[in-house]
């Protein structure tokens, strides 16, 4: 595959206006699938969470999961959408081996929610309103594994294996209207939008919302046009960009790629493109063709969903605080500096800090732990903070131990590693490793007196008022105490003893 020409990003923005559109698929965390009672858990042994319905055996019939409908309505409401008084299901017909019935049952033609909006803040602090066209329910497909060939990819494979555990898992697809005016920040906006959607569905409790597991998947539509041109440019759809960072990179890449083509007098092909995380580029998938005739028609095996006003109002009343309001509130409550708060938001740490604070940590302490040591370790292990083996309550416990002087910062870091290694709760670790600082002044004084006696020159200097000389004695004491002493208290005592 020849490497595509890319135009310098700033130059591309000078020449062209960027229009993006985002399709986000949310996998709901219902107990069962969309149309059958099979367990919604596709990590199990292949083809064990399947039944005649989700593997499309002849004669089987679907029945809609009530909880999935309610979750979809909640998502719609949280996005400020109107809820359709009646929404039917349609069949989208196409043949593909992961699609058990060779049609996908979808609300594509009759979305349950439409016309919403979401306010999104990008890292610079700029705010954009993204208009939501629709949110609709549909079912996921099975999982293909390509065997043979060099890469495990579809190309060159000898054969493929199909596992239908994921077939029929409920999805909500959220589609934006075209987003104009983000300019150079379009890539950041795309990522920030998906992050907001993720926060919303997580707060709603309707999805596990873990991008690395495919709970949240994004297709990014990108088109560019010369500034001042009315007609929209031809768009490409980059499929399955599955991390926030990749979304940003993929959109940026498409802008640069399309700009290079247009400026060289070429035309953009309307097509699906695939994002390659390793190469940081997209490649051409399938062009749109007349084979894309999906022959939608009303699903005769399902009847329309007509949510009652009572149901809608009940779900509305249960909506959590909207993310923008919540951010505003937490910023005020926590009292972080503006930059500190923005970093927390951008790093996706708000939920953790909020929970740690609720468990008794001081906001600054919680922030320090999450954006400091925990983020550092996560980063070094190439993991998301959410994947770290520590709960916010445990972080709060560590922070409280430090606050109360029971352990110092250095020991706290040791405790943190032990928690991450699964050794138990922070308090258990402190006690089992005997890490608690020596707070018995008697033991400290004995150690100080011994150290001062060994270093009479230092004692002299302190008495002369050269307080900084105390460092040497403090170090010796800390060493004698194996680090398990509160350094501030040691310093106080050293000065006190020296001047007696």
């Amino acid at each position: 595959m020849a490497k595509a020409n890319l135009m310098d990003y700033d130059k591309a923005l000078e020449l062209y206006e960027v229009v993006i559109g985002l399709e986000v698929h949310i996998e709901l965390n219902t107990k069962t699938k969309m149309f059958c009672g099979c367990k919604n858990d596709f990590g199990d042994e292949p083809n064990t969470n399947v039944c005649p319905i989700c593997i499309g055996l002849p004669g089987s019939l679907p029945v809609v999961n009530r909880k999935a409908v309610e979750s979809s309505i909640s998502i719609g409401l949280a996005l400020g959408c109107s809820i359709a008084p009646t929404g039917g299901f349609s069949r989208k017909n196409y043949f593909y081996p992961d699609l058990a019935k060779n049609y996908q049952t979808s609300q594509f033609r009759d979305p349950i929610a439409f016309d919403g909006q979401l306010d999104v803040e990008v890292p610079s602090g700029n705010k954009f309103t993204v208009l939501i066209e629709r949110a609709h329910m549909e079912e996921d497909a099975g999982k293909l594994t390509h065997i043979g060939g060099a890469t495990g990819r579809i190309q060159g494979a000898e054969y493929s294996l199909v596992d239908y555990n994921r077939a029929g898992v409920p999805l909500v697809e959220i589609v934006t209207k075209p987003v104009f005016g983000a300019g150079a920040e379009a890539p950041e906006l795309a990522a920030a939008y998906v992050r907001s959607i993720r926060e919303i569905v997580k707060a709603l409790g309707v999805s596990d919302a873990r991008m690395e597991r495919g709970n949240v998947r994004c297709d990014a539509n990108v088109s560019i046009r010369p500034h001042g041109q009315d007609k929209l440019g031809t768009r490409t759809e980059t499929k399955n960009v599955n991390s926030l960072r990749s979304i940003e990179r993929a959109v940026r890449y498409e802008i640069q790629r399309q700009a290079a083509i247009l400026s060289a007098g070429g035309t953009i092909t309307q097509e699906t493109r695939h994002w390659h995380e390793d190469k940081g580029s997209t490649s051409s998938g399938r062009p749109k063709s007349d084979a894309d005739d999906y022959r939608y028609f009303p699903e005769p095996d399902l009847v329309p969903v007509e949510p009652s006003t009572e149901l809608i109002e009940k779900l509305r009343a249960l909506l959590p605080e909207n993310p923008a309001d919540r951010r505003k509130r937490l910023a005020a409550e926590w009292g972080f500096a503006e930059m500190e708060f923005r970093d927390v938001v951008n790093a996706g740490l708000m939920d953790f800090i909020e929970e740690a604070v609720a468990a008794g940590a001081k906001p600054q302490a919680a922030r320090k732990w999450y954006s400091g040591e925990i983020a550092r370790i996560a980063n070094s292990e190439d993991k998301d903070v959410s994947e770290m083996n520590i709960t916010p309550a445990q972080v709060a416990e560590i922070a409280t131990l430090v606050e109360s002087g029971k352990i110092n910062d250095r020991i706290a870091r040791e405790v943190l590693s032990a928690v991450l290694a699964g050794e138990g709760s922070p308090t258990e670790i402190v006690s089992s490793r005997n890490l608690e600082v020596v707070s018995d002044d008697g033991a400290l004084i004995a150690a100080i007196d011994e150290a001062l006696a060994k270093q009479p020159d230092v004692l002299e200097k302190i008495r002369e008022g050269k307080v900084q000389a105390a460092g040497a004695v403090i170090g010796a004491v800390m060493q004698a105490m194996k680090g398990q002493a509160d350094a501030a208290r040691v310093r106080e005592l050293v000065l006190e003893r020296a001047n007696q």
Binding site: T32, P46, N47, V50, V64, R66, I154, S160, Y164, V303
Partner: protein, 98 residues
Amino acid sequence: MSDVTPHLVRHLANLARIELDESEVVRFTEQLGLILDSVAKISSAIDENTPSTSHPIPLTNVFREDIIEPSLSQEQALSGAPDQGQGRFRVAAILDEE
């Protein structure tokens, strides 16, 4: 007269994943033409204000509670499969990506 051509029939067969042989293409072109000519008169019976009926008996809001029911065993699931491997359904390589 109908505008059904062999080209159209081949296109439809491709959408429907049926590898028609040439004699079928010829026969279906003729028969599809006759049938479509015959049924085309329905458009004269209706206008744009006529509502559609997709379901003969109007029902709404039929749901299942979100309760796990027993699944098939892997063995049962694969029992009818023409080919299988590693607990999965085995198929020939796939031409293009969806």
